[in-house]
């Protein structure tokens, strides 16, 4: 195992494992370091995208405001969306998965560690190009960059397309790596039916990444050709609608890329803090696969008002409603999991429970949008903005926080402060709902999205929304403080502070560089809370034992 994975000589820029902070700035092939790099990078972009949102909401706090108008405003909402999706949510989920998946399956690292490091640095490069695009100016056509406008905007749009192209490859190589790792590197005894649900969610996510992201790459390549070489794929003399089809063919499945790992995190957190086995393990696993496949069959619901063939809209409306079913299966399974359990309201659990509620709200507004007649009325209005933030912030971001509070002890060896955590949770919950609940009403009443001002009748709702955004901004502070304080002075966590049964908790916190000193052999599934075979009050029976000596090495 050591060969090929030995840390480079001092001063080398290719290393494996981290013994100092400098190793985090190198081409590091250790999945735990890469995971940390992704999470950190993602969080920095969360703050950048968040500042953009604060600027947008400041401008929208009063009608007729002149704080930020015109081109700058367009750039802000375009880059807010792009950054939050591609440089915050996707990298942070990739980071958590990078750290946790090999540990959950009993592997020493990912299948392709160098490719893994390349993926990380491609994401960083893409991030820098995206920031350059903001500085240069011109990426003003929204994160969805519809032509002809996106082919007439300034040079920043070209940088935007290039940045996304680079980030896309980071994502594709990552998906490839996860799929091969989970398929081939599971420890002996870890059958697919004993795989933890977070790893299951990464199987489904990786399939979507491999199937969808290359189509976005194709679309971006063609847009770059239009802008740089002078072709006419999407221009007025070409087929602008073709961009929408290619773009949404990826970008709809992309939302499932952004939620499935979140679903996986919830499936890990709930059993631990309800002290009950997960309900419906197989249904949750298979529904993730169903979502992955069905996710490719709904894209045109983003195009109901585009002038597409009206009859063709109907099958897309049907598939868009059907796709709610597997998600509903999960929601009911999670509720059944906690039903009758002994719930411990840790910060992680609070975020997980809030996730269920907020995601259901977002999902319901999504079902409304799936209906063609309703969508015709509220397309491109604040109703859509409300929907997407309920599923992405109320959903994914809360799941990310649930996961970070859950796995921080494993990653760093220290506990986060629970009081600061609860303050973070409650301010987030209040701020989030203040910001986005009024936006449902605004959309139904006719306020369009991507506008820098509005008629006076929308003033009150916008003001409430902007106050909520301000509260959300404040919510970051206790979280940041918690991280910084706990990294230095948090209570030492030990191997398994939550008494969880998945494999990563059998290792010390933080795990040693090469993870498992001996290949574990898995003997049961990881959700046996309260079952007779795990009847040891202080420390639950681990679901693995070391491989028999003399064999298997």
């Amino acid at each position: 195992m050591a060969e090929g994975y030995a840390p480079a000589a001092r001063g080398g820029w290719v290393v494996h494992g981290a013994t100092s902070w400098r190793d985090y700035f190198k081409f590091n092939t250790d999945h735990k370091v890469i995971g940390t790099q992704y999470i950190t990078m993602g969080f920095i972009f969360f703050l950048i995208g968040g500042l953009m949102a604060e600027a947008i909401r400041a401008q929208l706090s009063r009608p007729g405001n002149t704080l930020i108008t015109g081109n700058l405003y367009n750039e802000l909402f375009s880059l807010h969306g792009t950054i939050m999706i591609f440089l915050w949510v996707i990298p942070v989920l990739t980071g958590v998965a990078n750290f946790i998946v090999p540990l959950q399956i009993g592997a020493q690292d990912m299948a392709f560690p160098k490719l893994n490091a390349l993926s990380l640095w491609l994401a960083v490069l893409g991030g820098l190009l995206m920031l350059a695009s903001f500085v240069v100016g011109g990426a003003e056509s929204g994160w969805s960059a519809y032509p002809p406008l996106s082919e007439q905007t300034g040079n920043g749009q070209t940088l935007w397309a290039l940045a996304l192209f680079v980030i896309g490859f980071s994502s594709i190589f990552g998906g490839l790596n996860f799929l091969v790792t989970i398929m081939n590197l599971r420890a002996p005894g870890m059958t697919l039916m004993r795989l933890p649900l977070f790893s299951w969610s990464m199987i489904a996510t990786s399939i979507i990444i491999l199937g969808g992201t290359p189509v976005l790459a194709a679309a971006l390549a063609l847009m770059l050709w239009d802008r740089v070489v002078g072709t006419h794929f999407f221009s007025a003399t070409g087929d602008p609608l073709m961009w929408q089809n290619l773009f949404w063919f990826y970008s709809h499945p992309a939302v499932y890329i952004m939620i499935l790992p979140g679903f996986g995190i919830i499936s890990e957190v709930l059993p631990v803090f309800a002290r009950k086995p997960i309900f419906g393990y197989k249904m949750i696993a298979f529904s993730s696969m169903a979502i992955a496949i069905f996710g490719f069959l709904v894209w045109a619901h983003h195009m109901f008002t585009s002038g597409m063939n009206p009859l063709l809209r109907i099958p897309f409306m049907l598939t868009s409603m059907i796709i709610a079913v597997p998600t509903g299966v999960k929601i009911f399974s999670w509720l059944a999991t906690i039903w009758g359990g002994r719930i411990r309201f840790t910060t992680s659990m609070l975020f997980a429970l809030s996730f269920i509620a907020m995601f259901v709200i977002g999902g319901l507004s999504g079902i409304f949008l799936a209906s063609i007649p309703i969508d015709i009325d509220v397309q491109d209005s604040y109703f859509v903005v409300a929907h997407l933030h309920y599923v992405l912030f109320g959903g994914t971001v809360q799941a990310v926080f649930a996961g970070l509070y859950f796995w921080f002890p494993k990653i760093t060896g220290r506990m986060l402060n629970e009081r600061l955590g609860k303050i973070h949770f409650w301010i987030t919950f209040i701020g989030f709902n203040l910001t986005f609940l009024p936006q449902h009403w605004l959309g139904l009443e006719g306020m369009p999205r991507r506008v820098f001002t509005y008629p006076p009748e929308f003033a009150t709702a916008n003001l409430i929304s902007s106050i909520g955004a301000f509260v959300l901004g404040i919510a970051v502070l206790p979280f940041l403080a918690n991280i910084l304080i706990s990294l230095r002075a948090g209570k030492l966590a030990g191997a398994n502070p939550w008494r969880s049964l998945t494999l990563e908790w059998t290792l010390p916190s933080p795990p040693p560089i090469h993870n498992f000193p001996q290949l574990p052999v898995v003997i049961s599934d990881p959700y046996g809370y309260g079952r007779k075979q795990s009847a040891q009050p202080a420390q639950p029976q681990p679901t693995s034992r070391p491989a028999p000596t003399g064999g298997g090495q």
């Binding site: 195992m1 050591a2 060969e3 090929g4 994975y5 592997a107 020493q108 690292d109 299948a111 392709f112 594709i172 998906g175 490839l176 790596n177 799929l179 091969v180 398929m183 081939n184 590197l185 599971r186 420890a187 002996p188 491999l210 199937g211 969808g212 992201t213 290359p214 189509v215 790459a217 194709a218 679309a219 390549a221 063609l222 050709w225 070489v229 002078g230 072709t231 006419h232 794929f233 003399t237 070409g238 087929d239 073709m242 290619l246 063919f249 290949l519 298997g552 090495q553």
Partner: protein, 192 residues
């Protein structure tokens, strides 16, 4: 033997990790070229009937043959490696590289002639689609040739050998894929 390999080998039903990685990468490439081909086809449907008459079918048919023969050379090289004949394998690899380079050379020459005739990326919808999708394919051939040179170096050094032929087998999958894509492109853009 490192533990990662140990686990890889443990169950015979598992595909070698490197081959599985290449197959999944090729699956993503199918989606990439699928997007480009759909766009090129769409451009063709938006164009008048004779839009592809500027293309030289006989020369490109020969070029297609060159690429197919190169895939045969890859099969011969892999077979030689598996039969314990690394030097023979290396010769077949060199032939493959020469054929691949020939393909690229003829393609570039065709591009120059087409542009000279006024058939350029910006001159029409079909032309734009043609140049975009074939140049992405050409780029993939180019990457294939470069990585093949690296395979030849490794075979000379012995790190790719009859005992370790899987890297070349995985590379071969890539090359065959690039060949198949070209057959699809030739059919759709030139013949139909």
């Amino acid at each position: 033997m490192n533990q990662v390999t140990a686990v890889t080998m443990q169950e015979e039903s598992r595909l070698d990790t490197r081959k599985l990685g290449m197959w999944l990468f090729l699956a993503s490439e199918v989606m990439f070229f699928g997007g480009l081909i759909a766009a090129a086809l769409n451009m063709k449907w938006h164009s008048p009937a004779g839009a592809n008459h500027a293309l030289n079918i006989p020369v490109t048919a020969v070029n297609t043959f060159v690429l197919i023969v190169s895939s045969t050379a890859v099969v011969m090289a892999l077979s030689a490696l598996q039969d314990g004949k690394p030097k023979t394998a290396r010769n077949w690899m060199i032939l493959t590289a020469l054929l691949g380079t020939t393909f690229l050379g003829i393609q570039v020459n065709e591009y120059i002639k087409l542009i000279g005739k006024g058939f350029t990326p910006a001159s029409g919808l079909f032309a734009g689609g043609f140049f975009a999708v074939t140049s992405f394919h050409g780029f993939h051939v180019f990457v294939g040739v470069i990585t093949l040179i690296w395979m030849i170096v490794r075979t000379t050094r012995g790190s790719v050998s009859p005992d370790n032929y899987v890297p070349f087998e995985a590379w071969g999958l890539y090359w065959h894929f690039v060949d198949v894509v070209w057959i699809v492109l030739f059919t759709i853009l030139y013949l139909l």
